[in-house]
Amino acid sequence: MPRRLCYNQNMPYYLLTAAGPDKAGIVAAAAEILYELGCNLEDSAMTRLRGEFAILLIFTAPAKTSLTELRRRLQRLEKSHGLTVQLKPMKPRETLEPPRPQRLCLVTVYGADKPGIVYRVTRLLSKNGVNITDVTTHRTAAGTAKGAAGYILYLEGELAGADTDRLQGLLQDLGRELGVTVALKPVDAEPL
């Protein structure tokens, strides 16, 4: 059963996505606007990729505050901090936490960069019923003039009904084909 996270019809949910050149004060500026509007910050993921900072944030707003008003105020971030801002009202079912997954896995891939690493690995996973929840990738600079750049891909996913041994075998085959190191290991996520 999906768990209902104190969803309140009187407090509509919104998803804010914003990204722009990194500098000190972006989170504070966004949080200040939401605070002044009487909004509650719920779940968020914010990170910096190279010189860009990105915000992915769920918040609730007072029912009396219109979407137009929220947009108007949040769009100030475009001028003040050079962010691209998007605001999406969430449907009630989108605000629910997914059921706790039975099995999580971590897939790590690294080796010389080449086109198709992310595509081939994630296609294999999706064909085998793995639902990806987190992805981090990094391309390293080439070590020497003739040296290849390196690529690192780490992802976490829900295994659902996938057969771990079979999936590991398929990933090993793909790793050999792509010339990269691939590993799949279960993630222990027990509440203690």
């Binding site: 990170t47 910096r48 990729l49 190279r50 010189g51 971590l106 790590t108 690294y110 080796g111 010389a112 960069d113 987190d134 992805v135 981090t136 990094h138 390293t140 600079a141 070590g143 020497t144 040296g147 290849a148 750049a149 390196g150 690529y151 690192i152 780490y154 992802l155 976490e156 190191t181 590993a183 290991k185 993630v187």
Partner: protein, 187 residues
């Protein structure tokens, strides 16, 4: 014979995935390898280096955590420069998670779980058996370098995407492989 020192092999060079051979005896070549490793370490902002990182597939490591400039306080307990041939883990206790980097994997960090205390045996440049035990940062550095001898990178030991991975916070342009980078890291 050791190749010329002062160049660090960078990921994705497949050499880093190769297991290293034991050093047969502490002869002049082995002593030179430890000297090359130490010299190279001193030219880079790292606290440790393993022979594969300078292109030599032999079991030799150097660690010197006093080279770390990042820590506010020097750790209370350390051995200064540790230079070992054929290092072997004898005992391990406890666990700690440390955010590691690697001179061979620039611009990337990962949280790795290691033993908090280790006892290691190896051979010094004079061929004498050396046994030492250590904990904390120095233990982490030694384990990281010994992993290199088995072709294992810290990338193999990260356990969780959500909390164990952190991109390097400083994206300053990386100098060429032959010159020191800007921040200290394990080798």
């Amino acid at each position: 014979m050791p190749v010329a020192a002062h160049r660090i092999i960078l990921f994705p060079d497949p050499l880093l995935k190769q297991p290293s051979r034991p050093v047969d005896r502490a002869d002049a070549a082995a002593a030179q390898l430890l000297t090359d490793l130490t010299d190279t370490l001193h030219r880079f902002p790292g606290v440790g280096l393993a022979a594969p990182q300078i292109g030599v597939l032999q079991r030799a490591v150097v660690v010197d955590i006093t080279r770390s400039t990042r820590r506010e306080k020097k750790p209370p307990r350390h051995h200064g420069l540790i230079a070992l041939l054929n290092p072997r883990l004898l005992r391990r206790e406890g666990e700690l998670v440390f955010r590691e980097g690697c001179l061979s994997v620039p611009d990337f960090l990962g949280n790795v779980r290691r033993a908090a205390w280790i006892e290691v045996e190896g051979m010094n440049a004079r061929g004498e058996t050396v046994k030492l035990d250590t904990d904390g940062f120095e233990a982490v550095a030694l384990q990281h370098e010994m992993d290199h001898l088995d072709g294992v990178l810290f990338l193999d030991r990260v356990e969780n995407v959500k909390t164990d991975l952190f991109r390097r916070k400083n994206y300053a342009p990386r100098p060429p492989a032959s010159t020191p980078a800007a921040t200290p890291e394990a080798g």
